[in-house]
Structures are given as C-alpha cells and as structure tokens.
Subunit: 146 residues, 2 copies
Amino acid sequence: MEELDQRIVQLLLQDGRMSYTDLGKATGLSTSAVHQRVRRLEQRGVIRGYTAIVDPEAVDLALTAFISVKPFDPSAPDDTPERLVGLSEIEACHSVAGDENYILKVRVPGPGDLEDLLARIRSAAGVSTRTTVVLSTPYEARPPKL
Amino acid sequence: MEELDQRIVQLLLQDGRMSYTDLGKATGLSTSAVHQRVRRLEQRGVIRGYTAIVDPEAVDLALTAFISVKPFDPSAPDDTPERLVGLSEIEACHSVAGDENYILKVRVPGPGDLEDLLARIRSAAGVSTRTTVVLSTPYEARPPKL
DNA sequence: GATGCGCTGGTCGAGTTCCTCCACAAGGCG
DNA sequence: CGCCTTGTGGAGGAACTCGACCAGCGCATC
C-alpha cells in the first residue's frame, strides 16, 4: 500500500469521523481524490468499517474477561467459532497456538452474567474453559502506528 | 443511561460515521437534538472517540499475540502500564487476576518483530513474559449488544 | 524512436445534503 | 412563578457527491 493511503488510514484510525475535506487538507489532496481513495480502501477491505469507542462501564458492561477454550473431543472437526458467533457477549474470538485452541474476549455486566455465559459457551461449543478476569484496563483500542 | 442515548450509542457502535440526520431519523428526534445528545455523550466520556476498523494484514501487522506479563520483583511498586505506554505495538493492556499481572495485546509485522518487542518489554518494565501467538481471528471488534 | 490509445488517478465546479448555531417553546420541579 | 432541561425549526455556511475534464504512463503499433 502506498504512502498516501497509509496516511489516510492512519488519520481515520485516530479520528473515524474526520471529514473528507480535512483529510484532503492533511494529505494535500482534493476532497474528491481523498473520497475516492477512501472508497477504494473500503471496498478492498482495508477499511472494514467505523465505530465509536465507548466506555464499557457506562453501558453496563463493567466486567471484561478472557476465556481460553479447548474442545472436549480434540478429534472432532472444530467449528467452535461458528457455534459461538451467536453469543453477543463475545467481542472477539482468536485461534491461538498453545495449550488451548481459542481465546475469547467477553464483556458482561457482572459476575453472575459471566457464570451464565460460561455455561452457555460450554454447552454450545462442547468445550472446557479457563477464564481470566480483568481487574482494570490501563489502555485499550490504541490505534497502531503505521 | 436512558433509552434514547443507548440507542444512539448502539447505532454509532455499528456505524461510527452515521450522520446526525440519519441518527435523528432512526431515533425519531430532530437533527439538533441528536447532535446535542451525542455531544453530551462525548463530554461525559461515554463516547471516547471514533475509529476506523482496519484489516491488520493490509497494513503490515499480520502477527497478533497476547503477552502475559509478571514483574521480576513482586514487592516493587507496580508501574508496568506507564513503562510500556510508549511501545506503540501494544494495542491494549489489561490488569488481570491470576498467575500473571497483565495481559498485553500486541501487533507486529512478523515473528522477528515479536522477538524484538519482547526484549523491549522485558527491559522496559522489568518483567517476565509468556506469549501466546494468534493463528487466525475468526472475529474481532464486534459491537456489543446493549 | 515517435504516435496514438486506454487506464489510472488527479482537479474543478455545481447541485444537493448535512452540519451547526441560534431563538424559542413545552414540560418538570423547587 | 421562574429556572433548568430538552426539544423543534430555520437559516447560513460547510461538506458531500457526482460528472466532466485533464495529466501522466505503459504499451502496442508504425
């Protein structure tokens, strides 16, 4: 990817609502040219979307946890992600190297909801779980430096 | 938080670039009223910002890993997050319950950069590390259901 | 080595839409 | 009744969006 696109992406990572006019000023391009590049980045899949960054506590999701997951039957075909995709408390699902197969990042209002969620995960995917509760998060969702 | 604000936040989680006019149509409010509410949500810290969701591979950050971190000296005051805040490869830092103290989420171009980053983390924070490499991520950054 | 063609990616301008601010109204609440 | 909050509506200006046009470049052709 060339340098102009990279700079545009960088700017949109820092402020997803920046206007095309401002992007143009920041890159030395015309509004239309920037707009065109952004559209291309979107349809090439480089930019997958835009979102607000929200304080989890403010929306009653004060408890974050990482759940490591391992199938009971290692020989069965592994469709764990599809089995869990319907659980909206799961923010992310990573397939990982190591003792367990997946790491899930989940957000719930409180401990009771976590207990409940764990049961649903185990029964939906046929897995054993090991969960790590996060106590606080010093920082999160920082935009990468390109 | 009341229901209208919740719906606005939900919509902005799904599309961070939605216009105030559209938000108004979706919530049954006038453009001005929505704008006002969003500004309040921003300055109350409920909405912390906006960002583009970018394909990491497209910006040469193909390797994601979780690094569990534990200080060499458990009795020393723990300022690990501050010591690591300057490393831009670290996307998130969570203080966790369990054997280790923190979980870091990092993104680098490749294995060599990970090795290098680990050395910098250890020397900057005086910690031992245990890293879990992610092989693929079925999904990530899903907007929570409110 | 010129000529000409098509592709890519840029500027410019005009019509439309959206943002943003202000004045003002309706509903609680002391 | 007066004040605060939260809404509506409107007007001016800014931003978006589209089409027309142009410059550079690669490349086949002569």
